[in-house]
Structures are given as structure tokens and as C-alpha cells.
């Protein structure tokens, strides 16, 4: 594995769009070639090297390329967008769309991220040590296939609209979640280890949600059906099992109606 280190030395005036910062685009390139890749500041296209110093060459393939970002990336969007393999480590915080439409590989953000991170994700791993904004692992606007696969782990809290239209993959939130979790969900799993504000599983067809803390405003469309013991994220615990959203359409499989499951920890 070869490591390319990008250090933000000359911050942009507006926000930077760094969709080229992926192992896929860096693979097979020398440091100088990487510095010549495009980034956008509004309508202005510039080489990456205008803002970042680049050290190290990319590996032969994306899988053999690791990117380390240093400096304040809170005004850089789209890092790791559409990446398929390899690794990115962001030493601090970053802006929107981190790991958006990601297919494989791993991103580790040591600070916070803003909204729309991991949207349309299909595979790979996105780890955030801090908090995430809204629309984490959600679907892009108007797209009815949200997160399809992969794993998102946020140690802190998240904003609203987590996992909208999710139909695969797993999201684990260490802290609290704001309103709307797995709205329109058709699969996948979301675990909220803190509290959820409300509208958990609204219009949800299939899939699982676990909430360890409280739900401030539970939806009337979810009904308690019993208690179960389940293993979640490596630990066994007892949960109250609810099914819903009863207001939504539900498919029938082998003569039985399939509902979404909401488990609240006892």
C-alpha cells in the first residue's frame, strides 16, 4: 500500500469540490500528476496542487492507494466520492458528500462531517469519529433507492433524515439521531445507540431499526408485538419489538405480510 499525503496549505476562498480525491483517481499517478488533477472552486477549475501540497505517489491500483488528508478540510466537499477501493484518512473534519456513492474501500474521518455523507452508498466503510450532519446514508433527491450496502459508523450524533429510502447496508450511530430515521426504508439496518427525536421508521416498508435510548415522539403507525433477544453490533440485549409503518404498503412473502421492525432496548 502506498500513501499519498495531501496537506491543505493554501485554503480556498469559497468551498472546494474535491471529487477527484479518491484512490481510484490517484492510482498509478506520481505526486506531480496528482497535484495536476482538477478541483473546483465554484466555476473556477484549478489543479489540486494550488491548494494542497502533495507528498508520495499513488499505488498501482486503487486498492493499493491510501490517501491521508491533513489541515482544515471543513471547506472541502466530495472527498472519496464514488471510490471503489483503497483507503482515505481525514485527520480532521470535512464538509459534505464524504463517501457519497461509495462502492468499496474505507474512509476514516477523525473529526466531524457535514450533510449528505455516504448518500447513495453501495459498499465499503465510512467511519466518523465525531458527528455527522443531515442525510447520512440517505438517498439523493428524488432517488427511491437509497443506501444499498456497506457500513457507516458515526461515533457522535447525527442530524435529520438519516437513511432515507435505505434498502441495504448498516448504519450505527453512537449518539443521538434527529427526526426522520429510515423514512421510506425498504431494507437495511440502522442502530441508534443514543436517543431518537421522532418519526422513526415513517412510511417504512421493510428493514430494521434499533434504538437503545428513548424515542421522544413515537409514530402511531408502529405497534408493539412482543419482546425479543437479539445480537446487535456484537452484543446481546433484550428489545421490545414493534412492527410498522402500518400506514404504509407492505409486501406479502410466502403468505405473510412483511413489516419493518423497530426494536427499542429494555
Amino acid at each position: 500500500m502506498k500513501t499519498v499525503t495531501l496537506t491543505l496549505t493554501n485554503p480556498s476562498e469559497l468551498f472546494l469540490e474535491g471529487q477527484n480525491i479518491t484512490p481510484d483517481n490517484f492510482a498509478g499517478k506520481k505526486a506531480a500528476e496528482i497535484a495536476a488533477l482538477d478541483v473546483w472552486e465554484g466555476k473556477q477549475k484549478s489543479p489540486l496542487g494550488k491548494y494542497f501540497s502533495v507528498e508520495g505517489d499513488g499505488g498501482a491500483t486503487a486498492a493499493e492507494t491510501k490517501i491521508v488528508l491533513r489541515g482544515d478540510c471543513t471547506r472541502t466537499k466530495r472527498i472519496g466520492q464514488q471510490m471503489t477501493a483503497g483507503e482515505i484518512v481525514i485527520e480532521g473534519s470535512a464538509d459534505m458528500y464524504i463517501g457519497g456513492w461509495m462502492k468499496g474501500g474505507k474512509i476514516h474521518v477523525k473529526g466531524n462531517v457535514d450533510s449528505f455523507c455516504g448518500i447513495g452508498m453501495e459498499g465499503g466503510e465510512l467511519l466518523v469519529d465525531g458527528n455527522a450532519g443531515s442525510h447520512l446514508g440517505s438517498s439523493p433527491r428524488g432517488e427511491w433507492r437509497g443506501m444499498q450496502g456497506g457500513m457507516i459508523r458515526v461515533a457522535g450524533s447525527v442530524g435529520n433524515d438519516t437513511a432515507t429510502f435505505i434498502n441495504g447496508g448498516t448504519i450505527v450511530i453512537g449518539g443521538d439521531a434527529d427526526i426522520h430515521v429510515s423514512t421510506h426504508g425498504e431494507g437495511g439496518t440502522v442502530v441508534v445507540k443514543g436517543n431518537a427525536k421522532g418519526r422513526v421508521g415513517g412510511q417504512m416498508v421493510k428493514g430494521d431499526i434499533y434504538v437503545y435510548g428513548t424515542i421522544e415522539n413515537p409514530l402511531p403507525g408502529f405497534q408493539m408485538v412482543g419482546e425479543v433477544e437479539q445480537e446487535v453490533d456484537g452484543e446481546k440485549a433484550r428489545f421490545v419489538h414493534h412492527i410498522g409503518d402500518l400506514g404504509e404498503r407492505h409486501p406479502v412473502s410466502r403468505g405473510k405480510t412483511v413489516y419493518a421492525n423497530l426494536y427499542t432496548r429494555i
Binding site: 476562498e13 469559497l14 468551498f15 469540490e17 471529487q19 477527484n20 479518491t22 481510484d24 483517481n25 492510482a27 498509478g28 499517478k29 500528476e33 488533477l37 482538477d38 473546483w40 472552486e41 465554484g42 466555476k43 473556477q44 477549475k45 484549478s46 464514488q82 459534505m96 450533510s115 449528505f116 443531515s134 442525510h135 439523493p140 433527491r141 428524488g142 427511491w144 435529520n160 433524515d161 429510502f165 427526526i179 426522520h180 423514512t183 421510506h184 421522532g198 418519526r199 415513517g202 412510511q203 415522539n217 409514530l219 402511531p220 403507525g221 405497534q223 409503518d245 402500518l246 400506514g247 404504509e248
Partner: protein, 458 residues
């Protein structure tokens, strides 16, 4: 002899009344009387010739005062601001015609700007819901002629759309609704007991911010499931009663307003309202409609969707790729996050409507206001360009709240020398092309990005 102009459209609210009769003075310069309009509609016409109007563009001077300049100078200034900015924002269009909107879009594309309209702080969340869930809607004519159950949810037409109830929903006698009000059931759902609620047969006082839960309860009931005793402050019996009325209607329309779009959850409140509408179509005919605010705020959605595929929050900075994602490319978010470096306020008042921090950020950069009148935005601008008032002095196409296009006419001429939005933007576009050509001739073509796709492997 004063002249009477008939079938005049009202350039105020989304009801787009097109039955006004306007009496104009002998010399065609003054509006004497406006018939059929409501109080607000009346005002918009009288305002045009009532007081002093700005007749020339005004440019801010170093001492803070405004100096009048020619339209040519203003066009040059505006084009240069757009040309030099990295990410200009062009926002507004609450009160202009579709011709002006199309011309502004040409400018935005040329300038690599973000193009947004007032839906961004209004019914934009409806668009998001419609993208996700469809729009089982109808025209206002269908409601008038067929509907026997009307729901106003989070909307107060008694104040915001004064003639909506009399022209289309509650009172008119239509083809299949010959008994008018007598044969219709009116349901109003709102946290406040509004003046619209006064005329309702049933009023549900939903707990503020909990409309989503109430919709969910209605949906569960419609599908025959149990619900808790009280949801969002409404008793189960009442929910069952209303659900029964909804199911037994011959034809129903849900009109919804800012109560859904601008309380917690926003697009999802509309989203679930659409889901309920769809569910009800298993039993009878139900439709839903957004109570769009201004007379032609439906226009930019129609025009720009046709041009770019998206109705608002259009990021055209990559020119050949239109990108839209409210939350990122929406005006207030761009301003709050300090993402833009020039601002065009067109036919609206961002100075009054935006949060103060957003205004402060925008004020760090050039701010240009295009508006017939003096407003808060015009008074804090670097440049104010006056234009003719659409529907009074400038004709054009407008879209009513139900997406029906209507040809508006003019009743008087604009003040001498004052041009239309369309002409202004056409001239700015021309100047932008010239600036680009000049720069190309000097051999320093601005980096014109070809797209946002990743570089291919060597």
C-alpha cells in the same frame, strides 16, 4: 373617457384571478379603479401609479448614497460582477413573468451561477416530496366542478389567498357541485384557529410540528389498523370520523400550505400527505395541491425544469451539468455557509426574508437588486435596477398554483425609460458574451470546466 380593460390577471397571489376589470385614465397613465380584486390585489395596481417610482438604476457611491446611472452602465456593472465572481447566486423571481425567468436562466448559465427562486424558502420542500413520491394533483377547475370534500391543511387562504375559497373551493357552484357551499364539507387542520378555520365544518387543532404523526394515524386508520387514543393532540374518535368522511367523498382535494412546508420535517410532511392522498384513491378520487404563494412562483419551476430538469436550487457553475441539492445549493444554505461571492436579488426581497446572518454574509460581496419598487433589499444593495411591473405594465405568461399557464396583459405603460426583466437579462447576457469574447481575445480564457467527471486512468 377613461378606458375599461377586462379579463385582467392579478399579479399578486397564486390564485391568479383573471377576471379583474381595470379602469385607466384618459391618458393611459393612471389606474383609477380595479373591480373584482380582493384588497391586496387592488393595492398592487394602485401602488403602481400611486407614488413616486424609481426610473433609473441607482449605484451605491463611496459615501453610501445612491447615484442614478444609465441602464447601459447598470448592465455593464451587473455583467462584470457575474463574470468575475467564482460562484454568483441569482435568486428571486417571485414576481415576474416566465419570459424574464427564461432570460435570467440564460444569464445564469453563461455566468456559471447558482439559479434559485423563492420556492427555496417557501414550497421548495413540496418539490422534494414530489420528486420522492409523485403528485396526484388536479386543476382548480376540477376542484370547483367536482369536489365535495375540501381539506385545508396548514394553510390560511382567508388571509394569504383571499379569493381562493370563493373562486375554487368552498363557495362556487360548479358543474357537479351546483349547491355550492351547502353540498361541500370543509375540514381545516391547523395548530392555530385561523379565519379559514371559522368557515370549516370540522376543525382539528393539530399539535404544532406533529402533522406527520397525524398523517401517519390517518393512513393507519384508512388501512384498518388500530391507533393510540390521542395522536398529535387529536382524539382517536375524531380521527376516525374524519377518515370516514375522506373515504366517503365523491371527489376531494387537500390544499396545503406553509404549515407543512415550514414546520419540522418539511418535505416529509408533504411526502406523507401525498402518500395519504394516494391511499385514499383506493376508495374514491382524491387530489392534493400546494397553495403556491405568489402569482407566478409556479413559473420558474415550470420554465427551469423544462430548461435544466430541475425546478430550483440549480447549480450551473459547471455549465454543462446542472446540479441540484437543496440543503447545499439552496440560497439560504449557500448564504449561511458563505458559499457564494455575488448576489442578485430579482423581484423579491431577500433583505427582508433571509435570516440576518445570511444577509450579513451576502453583504460582504456585490449585491444587486432588480425590482420595480424600493424594498429592504434595494436599500442595502450596491446596485438597484428598476423594471416594469409584470401584470400591470409588462405582459407575459404566468403559471397559476395548479400549473395552468395564463397570459397576463398590461394595462398601462411603464414609467418612461423603464425596461422589463426580460429585456434587462437579455442585455446582461449580451454583455456577458462580449466580456467572454474580450477575454478570449486577450488569450486568457477563464477556466471553463468541462464537467465534473473524474479524470480517466492514463
Amino acid at each position: 373617457m377613461p378606458k375599461k380593460v377586462e379579463n385582467v390577471g392579478c399579479p399578486y397571489c397564486g390564485v391568479c384571478c383573471d377576471d379583474l376589470v381595470v379602469t385607466v385614465s384618459d391618458d393611459g397613465k393612471k389606474i383609477l379603479e380595479v373591480e373584482n380584486a380582493c384588497a391586496i390585489g387592488n393595492q398592487i395596481f394602485h401602488h403602481a401609479t400611486g407614488g413616486e417610482r424609481i426610473r433609473l438604476p441607482r449605484l451605491r457611491q463611496p459615501d453610501g448614497s445612491y447615484k442614478e446611472i444609465s441602464y447601459d452602465e447598470a448592465v455593464d456593472y451587473a455583467a462584470k460582477v457575474l463574470h468575475n465572481a467564482k460562484k454568483p447566486l441569482i435568486y428571486g423571481f417571485g414576481s415576474t413573468n416566465c419570459e424574464g425567468m427564461a432570460a435570467a436562466a440564460k444569464v445564469a448559465e453563461k455566468a456559471g451561477a447558482v439559479l434559485d427562486n423563492c420556492a427555496s424558502i417557501c414550497h421548495g420542500s413540496s418539490f422534494l416530496a414530489i420528486f420522492d413520491n409523485g403528485y396526484p394533483s388536479c386543476t382548480l377547475g376540477e376542484t370547483k366542478n367536482r369536489a365535495d370534500v375540501i381539506v385545508y391543511w396548514g394553510a390560511n387562504p382567508a388571509h394569504a389567498h383571499p379569493r381562493h375559497m370563493s373562486r375554487y373551493s368552498i363557495f362556487p357552484r360548479g358543474f357537479f357541485t351546483g349547491k355550492g357551499h351547502k353540498s361541500r364539507k370543509i375540514i381545516v387542520i391547523d395548530p392555530r384557529h385561523t379565519d379559514t378555520a371559522q368557515v370549516a365544518d370540522i376543525y382539528l387543532q393539530v399539535k404544532q410540528g406533529h402533522d406527520y404523526e397525524l398523517f401517519d394515524a390517518f393512513r393507519a386508520v384508512v388501512r384498518g389498523h388500530e391507533i393510540p387514543d390521542v395522536v398529535a393532540g387529536i382524539k382517536r374518535e375524531q380521527i376516525l370520523e374524519v377518515a370516514n368522511i375522506l373515504k366517503k367523498a365523491r371527489f376531494g382535494t387537500i390544499f396545503y400550505g406553509m404549515g407543512l412546508c415550514h414546520s419540522d420535517g418539511r418535505n416529509h410532511n408533504v411526502d406523507i400527505a401525498i402518500s395519504l392522498t394516494r391511499d385514499l384513491n383506493d376508495f374514491t378520487k382524491w387530489t392534493i395541491m400546494a397553495m403556491r404563494g405568489h402569482y407566478n412562483i409556479t413559473g420558474p419551476g415550470a420554465v427551469w425544469s423544462w430548461q435544466y430538469g430541475y425546478p430550483y436550487c440549480l447549480d450551473l457553475t459547471k455549465r454543462d451539468i446542472a446540479h441540484m441539492n437543496p440543503g447545499e445549493t439552496s440560497s439560504v444554505d449557500l448564504a449561511m455557509r458563505d458559499e457564494v461571492d455575488a448576489f442578485f436579488n430579482v423581484g423579491t426581497d431577500a433583505g427582508a426574508h433571509f435570516p440576518i446572518d445570511a444577509v450579513k454574509h451576502l453583504k460582504k460581496h456585490p449585491w444587486i437588486t432588480v425590482d420595480p419598487n424600493i424594498c429592504m433589499a434595494s436599500e442595502i444593495s450596491d446596485l438597484h435596477i428598476p423594471v416594469g411591473i409584470v401584470g400591470v405594465e409588462v405582459p407575459g405568461i404566468v403559471y397559476r398554483m395548479d400549473n395552468v399557464p395564463i397570459q397576463y396583459r398590461k394595462v398601462i405603460d411603464p414609467p418612461e425609460g423603464v425596461i422589463s426583466d426580460e429585456e434587462l437579462f437579455e442585455r446582461i447576457h449580451k454583455r456577458l458574451c462580449e466580456l467572454e469574447a474580450e477575454e478570449a481575445a486577450k488569450g486568457q480564457v477563464k477556466a471553463a470546466p468541462e464537467g465534473v467527471r473524474a479524470e480517466s486512468e492514463p
